[in-house]
């Protein structure tokens, strides 16, 4: 029997539905698709050889390596912190819980430039513990450690924010069941908690990673813009742009855009493949 298309009496009329769909499509086209297309067309405007040169010259290579390094430190750090914090918040009651939630949101509400400035004020030459660091020959600001710190700070809500509502909704019953069956805390975490949150965690990691690689403001303040040493990809793009080297700027930018597209596609594929495990249990 062919399914008959019917509209529920409370639904909007077809005109309004089509209108709403069109509106969102046009909006997405203008503000999302078009800029991405422009990035890639501009990047290849002088041919592939130019593109290759722009992304393989030593400064660009250094920027790419630094960006990957920063992400490779910041993302795992925030995964550990995010899972720990959301587990604590979702599964236990303790004094200062709402304060912790507020603190996690702090990087969202503070301008990234100010986040960077905080590190300069703390670790810089005139800063709070700057002189002590100088004495011990430890360089944080205008060096890789500062960039990593600033990136960790700016990206730390992503994983936790993704997991807290998910874990709160799931409650602690499955964990209690695991414990009553004799599982240790670790076993409960690896066998029950982690599998239940893996999709949210993956999504949080993707968002965290995208931001870690793309962060500009905070990193710009602490980096000092030393070419080949403390320039991440976004900073390198800015420098090229300021030098009116537009094709090269867009070439490096296209790498960032490409990374974003790859992560989105990867997420889509994983969801298609393991989607059945996402089916919620209805009580």
């Amino acid at each position: 029997m062919a399914p008959k298309r019917t509209f529920a009496p409370i639904a909007e009329s077809p005109k309004i539905r089509i209108g709403l769909v069109l509106l969102s499509l046009i909006y997405i086209l203008f503000f999302l698709v078009l800029p991405v297309v422009v990035v890639f067309t501009e990047a290849f405007s002088r041919g592939f050889a130019h593109y290759l040169e722009a992304v393989t010259e030593p400064d660009a290579q250094a920027a790419i390596k630094l960006t990957l390094l920063v992400a490779a430190i910041a993302v795992p750090a925030n995964v550990v912190f995010g899972v720990a914090a959301s587990w604590a918040i979702a599964k236990f009651d303790f004094v200062g819980k709402s304060f912790l939630i507020t603190l996690i949101d702090l990087p969202f509400s503070v301008s990234p430039v100010i986040s960077g400035l905080i590190y300069v004020l703390m670790f810089g030459g005139q800063g709070l513990i700057g002189p002590w660091l100088d004495e011990h020959d430890i360089q944080i600001v205008y060096a890789v450690p500062g960039i990593v710190l600033a990136t960790v700070f700016v990206t730390f809500p992503f994983v936790a924010r993704e997991l807290i509502p998910l874990m709160q909704e799931q409650g602690a019953e499955e964990e209690e069941a695991a414990r009553s069956l004799g599982a240790s805390g670790w076993q409960t975490f690896w066998r029950v908690t982690l599998p239940n949150i893996k999709w949210g965690l993956l999504y949080g990691v993707l968002l965290c990673n995208a931001r870690a690689m793309g962060e500009f403001g905070a990193v710009s303040v602490v980096s000092g813009h030393i070419r080949g040493f403390t320039n991440t990809m976004p900073l390198h793009v800015e420098i090229l742009y300021n030098e009116y080297n537009l094709p090269a700027a867009f070439a490096v930018a296209s790498l960032l855009a490409f990374l974003a597209l790859v992560t989105l596609v990867a997420k889509g594929i994983l969801e298609l493949r393991y989607g059945h495990e996402l089916a919620p249990v209805h009580h």
Partner: protein, 354 residues
């Protein structure tokens, strides 16, 4: 296993969920914790399971302090109200969980685990669904998976939190019988929580009636139903008419029946004249040809093996409910609006709380 709950108190912030409660469950017993929501029955069950710590008091398993034992070492199978099945695992893996997480020196081989899980699944008649996920099962099937999972660790005690609450009436009745058989066959000691009096009375060896964190009465289903210890038990278990009356010198004449007033805690009944309530079951009211108390028939419900009448009695605000066996009802030929005489066969009187 013999379970001994001694003077247990549990507080959540300012709320006391269980207050100074003592309870003894003998080996092989099936006990129901019955009470309204908020009476502390689930909290008590969770304390026995070790999922919650008591603020005061002791839980003894066969005479040993269970508080020192970790929840995983108590050999307690716990069935959660909403089953709490692991949603990302198949039915098979759900049941196998308790066996797989056992410490290495006690862990079974994979073949043994497989055999044990499959035999448990055939016990709960779900062996064909071993590869399904919980989201693909009906409520009754999930309930049975939860039971099989709890039984996998060979528990000595089975604790069930509202085990049949989320199921429809027919499945509930089937599972109830099945659980009773399982309990007897496996020689378990079981405690289940319910707010459904019918379930408690039908299934349990003993019923513990709870109210506001304390025990109102412990007894066999027959005892708690037929000789309720307190007005609360009267009102909570079965239908009852609560008739306001005046106690004169410790006694009341209720519609021609002399009843001696009693108190819950055995304190003396106030001398002289005092307000009280008489509790009369609907089937303990008789319609007679001659009597001191008159009543008007206001409603007749004749469907089923017994007929239900609602009578209007002067001085009683709520309608008085009467239950008659069908033949007696037909013999009397009662009609709505008719005036009849009533008397009580049995009743109990408690002074009103001051």
């Amino acid at each position: 296993m013999h379970i001994d709950v001694r003077n247990v108190t549990k507080r959540f912030d300012s709320f006391t969920a269980v207050r100074n409660l003592t309870l003894d469950v003998r080996q092989g017993e099936l006990v129901a914790l019955l009470g309204p929501s908020g009476s502390g029955k689930t909290t008590l069950l969770r304390i026995i399971a070790g999922l919650e710590h008591a603020n005061e008091g002791q839980i003894l398993f066969d005479g040993d302090d269970a508080v020192a034992r970790h929840v995983g070492e108590r050999r307690v199978g716990f069935v959660f109200q909403h089953y709490a099945l692991f949603r990302h695992m198949t039915v098979f893996e759900n049941v196998a969980f308790g066996l797989r997480v056992a410490p290495a020196e006690r862990r079974m081989s994979n073949t043994d685990i497989k055999n044990r899980v499959m035999s448990l699944l055939s016990l709960v008649q779900l062996d064909r669904l071993a590869a399904r996920y919980p989201s693909q099962l009906s409520g009754g099937q999930r309930q049975r998976v939860a039971l099989a999972r709890a039984l996998a660790i060979a528990p000595l005690v089975l604790l069930l939190d509202e085990p049949f609450g989320a199921l429809d009436a027919k499945v509930r009745k089937e599972l109830r019988r099945w659980l009773r058989r399982l309990h007897d066959d496996m020689g378990l000691t079981s405690i289940f929580v319910t707010h459904d009096q019918e379930e408690a009375l039908e299934l349990a060896d003993r019923v513990v009636v709870m109210n506001q964190g304390a025990i109102e009465q412990i007894g066999t289903p027959d005892e708690v139903y037929n000789t309720p210890a307190t007005p609360f038990v009267y009102e909570f278990l079965g239908n009852v008419n609560k008739i306001p009356c005046t106690i004169a010198n410790g006694a009341v004449n209720l519609w021609g029946l002399a009843v001696t007033a009693e108190t819950v805690d055995g304190a003396p009944v106030p001398a002289g004249s005092a307000a009280g309530f008489a509790y009369v079951r609907p089937h303990d009211i008789e319609i007679v040809a001659e009597g001191t108390q008159r009543a008007i028939v206001r409603h007749v419900g004749a469907a089923g093996p017994t007929a239900r009448l609602e009578l209007e009695v002067a001085g009683v605000h709520a309608p008085v409910e009467v239950q008659l066996i069908r033949q007696a009802f037909l013999d009397l030929g009662l009609k709505v609006g008719q005036t009849v005489a009533i008397t009580a066969r049995a009743a109990r009187v408690f002074p009103a709380r001051s």
